[in-house]
């Protein structure tokens, strides 16, 4: 097991290297002058001074050198400094990641809690009313741009229901003055999470239900399900024990790719709902050309994806004795 | 009588190993699918090849038609060594040697009609030009194989398993080959259809002067169709002789076991059935010495150490067993 993990982790290195290199190259194509971006729009800094700054920031070197400098720093744990937040990139990223996690974890939990039973039920009663309803539901779900859904919700709730905040993560003034109790804190954040989590859950739900359904259907036709039935097991046991354990396997793989995708998809929602998450950091970084920030954020997303896949592989290995790793 | 027979194919010490990866840092292992097989086939005969699943029958057949390049050894077809022909020269060989496949479902391209399936190769080899002559030729072959002329415009899914197998035979025959490897052509068919195909193959053999290498795991079928029969075990040929001798006087203990295991369709002859214990060992780490020693009821010490020679014990009766004839 450890060796397997070690090997997989080793394999991640070239992937991450190449991805970071690609990102670096792409960022170099960004129009505009990074020094100007660094100084901020409309600054009146003399050209000579700008050259000095360029030198100080190492931007005068050829691209490969810049990349290796960056890499060298990253390896020592220094992700550089961001200009817009004027802080260490790592600090900024870690500050925001948790907010994104908060949103995504809840969405994921809710989505799974709903998707799995619904998916199973749809699969068992294939083409029934229930199944058809959720087929239409998930079809609409995957066809609806998340941000549009979010906007529609805001549109409906704006000025109508007061206790549902339209954006932000908490009531600032309460946060500033300190919550009376943890409970109050939770309620406040919970209220703010209502809409974004709803949107995220709905969109993930659509896909996950479909996946669960299809993978259960696939499994239900297997011979060993017939075997289980012929033993006299209750249908519930057949489905939830025998079928679901097997249907879980493809689901694990999907989740490994899904979680990172969820994070990526949440960028749009974080923008619409003003959720202080990593996606907004990225967007801010892009608009203000804060290269080290963008670079680090992207690498974070890539890492998430790669680790997601790794975790999927590992849990797949744990769940499926056929590929079980020792 | 032996000298009158004209050899068409000689297989000399052919080996076919497949590398299988064992892990990144480990030495790659080898599947010894075919391990040192030698025999000769004569013109106009049908040589049956039997053995249990995974013993290398298909691999041997495919190596002979040069779908695989042998790892070692020689394949001499009509006096020419074809074991390492370049792909260009192989094209010429293709006209003379053909293969019939086991699975009537996956062996036909579902998106082509019979006309193309049967005729395509004739065009590739420029045997005919597209036109009426070509159409006629396809119809002719198809009819020979027991299908009707109106079948040529149909697609494989519109046929039953037996009919599909006929299409497969027609495809092979279209190139007018002399030698055909039939890799379990009837295993996937129902009994009532199986006999149809076997009969057809037999009659075509006479009509076209074909030689068959007929692979099967069903001893009854092999016995029916073959002149001589080879028995394979774990990549090697353990016994080879004409069918009468094989059934009446098998020399190798494995052959005996095999014969004993066949349930005969005759309730008056109830067999004891359990002839040998155990299962075929892995063909990656093959047993030392005689490969059959792990299951052989007559096993002696020498069997563990020494590989028995594949020798002609009696006229036309080859066997690889230290104690052949004694047991």
């Amino acid at each position: 097991m450890l060796r397997f993990l070690g090997k997989r982790l080793l394999q991640l290195i070239p992937t991450l290297l190449i991805i970071s290199m690609l990102i670096f190259i792409v960022l170099d194509f960004m129009p505009g002058d990074p020094v100007q971006a660094y100084l901020g729009q409309g600054s009146e800094v003399s050209p000579e001074r700008q050259e000095q700054i360029r030198e100080q920031l190492g931007l005068d070197r050829p691209l490969p050198i810049q990349y290796f400098n960056w890499l060298g720093r990253v390896l020592t744990g220094d992700l550089g400094r961001t200009n817009i937040y004027n802080a260490d990139v790592s600090e900024v990223i870690f500050g925001f990641i948790w907010n994104s996690f908060l949103l995504n974890i809840f969405a994921l939990i809710f989505a799974l809690l709903i998707a799995i039973p619904v998916g199973i039920k749809s699969a068992v009663k294939k083409y029934g009313l229930f199944d058809n309803f959720f087929t239409v539901f998930s079809l609409t779900g995957v066809s609806m741009p998340t941000f549009f859904f979010a906007l529609i919700l805001i549109f409906l709730f704006a000025r109508n229901i007061e206790w549902i905040p339209l954006n932000g993560m908490r009531t600032s003034i309460m946060a500033v003055r300190g919550y009376d109790s943890l409970w109050q804190n939770i309620v406040d954040v919970g209220r703010h999470m209502l809409l974004p989590v709803l949107v995220l859950t709905m969109t993930s739900l659509a896909t996950l239900t479909r996946y669960t359904r299809n993978s259960v259907i696939e499994v239900i036709n297997q011979d060993y399900i017939r075997t289980a039935r012929s033993k006299g097991l209750k249908e519930k046991v057949v489905i939830y024990k025998h079928a679901f354990r097997n249907a879980l396997l493809p689901l694990i793989t999907i989740l490994g790719m899904w979680v990172p995708a969820l994070f990526g998809g949440a960028i749009l929602l974080e923008t619409v709902f003003l959720w202080p998450g990593i996606g907004r950091v990225l967007l801010n970084g892009i608009t203000s050309q804060d290269l080290s920030l963008v670079m680090a954020t992207l690498v974070f997303y890539a890492l998430l994806r790669v680790i997601g896949n790794l975790l999927a592989d590992v849990s797949y290995g744990l769940a499926d004795p056929r590929v079980r790793v020792k | 009588m032996r000298d009158k027979r004209e050899p068409i194919l000689e297989v000399k010490n052919v080996k076919k190993y497949f590398p299988v990866s064992a892990g990144v840092f480990k030495k790659p292992l080898q599947v010894k699918a075919v391990d040192d097989v030698s025999f000769t086939m004569y013109k106009g005969e049908t040589l049956g090849l039997v053995g249990e699943s995974g013993c290398g029958k298909s691999t041997l057949g495919r190596t002979i038609v040069r779908l695989y390049e042998p790892t070692d050894g020689e394949i001499i077809f009509k006096g020419n060594d074809i074991s390492h022909l370049s792909s260009h020269k192989l094209k010429y060989l293709r006209q003379q040697m053909q293969l019939i496949f086991q699975d009537p479902y996956s062996s036909l391209n579902p998106r082509m009609n019979v006309n193309s399936i049967v005729g395509e190769a004739m065009l590739t080899h420029k045997m005919v030009k597209k036109g009426p002559e070509y159409e006629d030729r396809v119809v002719e072959i198809v009819e020979k194989c027991g299908l009707a002329a109106y079948h040529v415009n149909r697609y494989p899914h519109q046929f039953s398993g037996g009919q599909r197998q006929r299409i497969g035979v027609a495809r092979a025959l279209a190139l007018n080959p002399e030698f055909i490897v039939a890799d379990e052509p009837v295993s996937a068919l129902d009994v009532s259809v199986q006999s149809q195909v076997l009969n057809m193959m037999n009659s075509l053999k006479d009509e076209f002067g074909l030689s068959y290498l007929f692979i099967s795991h069903d001893l009854s079928v092999v016995k029916h169709i073959s002149d001589r029969i080879g028995v394979m075990y774990l990549g090697s040929l353990v016994e080879l002789t004409n069918k009468e001798a094989l059934y009446e006087k098998p020399l190798h203990p494995y052959t005996k076991a095999l014969l004993a295991a066949i349930p005969e369709p005759d309730p008056t002859k109830i067999k004891k059935m359990e002839a040998i214990k155990g299962e075929i060992p892995s063909n990656i780490n093959t047993p030392s010495g005689c490969k059959f020693h792990t299951r052989c009821p007559y096993m002696k010490d020498i069997c563990k150490e020494e590989v028995p020679e594949f020798r002609e014990l009696e006229e036309d009766h080859f066997v690889a067993c230290h104690f052949a004839g004694e047991i």
Partner: protein, 326 residues
């Protein structure tokens, strides 16, 4: 001769020689839901082509001294400016003249909706095309040649797949901002294309690998059939179904992606309308709350289109199900 014909016909049972494509089509025709998807998709395509033309025709018809030739030319070649730019007529609610009202520049929303539809659909089609081309090429080469080529290409595909999708799209789009507005559409196409191909490449490769295992592919080798014919006549037609399905479904997701990017201001940029950037106008509280006719219709159109495309795709997938034509 005629006798022979008659004879054959008598012998020939009812079974007509139906090719696999024909079968797929018959199956598709029977699938009501898919048919609805297909029809509504075609209707949308026709609408986005025709409706702007009607506008153009109406506009030019009233112009004095327009010759018939000119009228036809201008009708066919819709000019983005044909929407009637009337400042004094801005932000009008839906009315008889402007069925969906006007936007801030006094342009007819309906016209822009369908003209923008052209862009969005085109983005979808072209991205799907690019994705499919790349995916098929890479997957095909990897699957067909196998060995080192396969290893290398699949590793590469894996890396591209590990690239965080939306974030990277955002960055690339941002990096390509120097492209003039009329062509930003192509940027989106490019970005979606170069990031989405690995999924298809893997499928195509898997298909080809499994096809190569199929005995009919080995038969072609035994028959000495040339490489080109093996690929063109035996392999491709058998993966084509997957490719068509994946192109269809890919189109749906490309439309969604265009919308997302444009919403963030990183996709198609105004004045060139697209459904995405039309929704973006909702990021102004006036438009959002007071002029919903500007931003809700494009959202609905996206949904309608993507639902249609997905229905179509799923219908095609079922229709092409190889189990049926074996």
């Amino acid at each position: 001769m005629s006798e022979a014909n008659v004879d054959q016909n008598v012998n020939a049972p009812r079974l007509k020689p139906e090719g696999p494509w024909k079968i797929a089509w018959n199956r598709f025709k029977k699938n009501k839901i898919a048919l609805v998807g297909g029809i509504s998709f075609v209707a949308i395509v026709i609408a986005v082509i025709i409706i702007p033309m009607i506008y153009s025709f109406n506009l030019w018809r009233d112009v004095e001294g327009v010759t018939t030739g000119q009228l036809v030319r201008e009708t066919l070649n819709v000019d983005l400016r044909a929407h009637g730019f009337e400042l004094e007529n801005s932000e009008q609610p839906p009315s008889r003249e402007n069925l969906l009202g006007t936007d801030r520049q006094g342009r007819d929303v309906m016209f822009r909706l369908f003209y923008g539809g052209r862009i969005s659909m085109l983005v979808g089609v072209l991205s799907a095309f690019l994705t499919v081309t790349l995916g098929t090429l890479v997957g095909g080469v990897a699957g067909y040649y196998g060995g080192k080529t396969d290893g290398f290409l699949m590793r590469f595909a894996e890396i591209v797949q590990s690239i965080p999708f939306l974030p990277m799209m955002m960055v690339i789009s941002a990096a390509m901002r120097w492209v003039p507005s009329e062509q930003t559409m192509l940027v989106v196409v490019f970005v979606v294309g170069i990031l989405s191909w690995p999924g298809l490449a893997r499928v195509v490769r898997g298909q080809i690998l499994s096809l190569r295992e199929q005995e009919f592919m080995q038969a072609t080798e035994i028959l000495g059939i040339s490489d080109t014919s093996r690929i063109g006549r035996h392999l491709l037609p058998n993966v084509l179904a997957y490719i068509i399905v994946s192109a269809t479904l890919g189109m749906g997701s490309a439309i969604l992606m265009e919308a997302g990017l444009s919403f963030l201001g990183l996709g198609v940029t105004p004045p060139m309308p697209s459904w995405g950037n039309m929704i973006q106008t909702a990021r102004n509280s006036t438009v959002f709350l007071n002029y919903p006719w500007i931003w809700i219709p494009p959202g609905l159109m996206i949904m309608l289109t993507v639902v249609s495309v997905n229905l179509l795709g799923e219908g095609l997938r079922d229709a092409f199900d190889p189990k049926e034509i074996r």
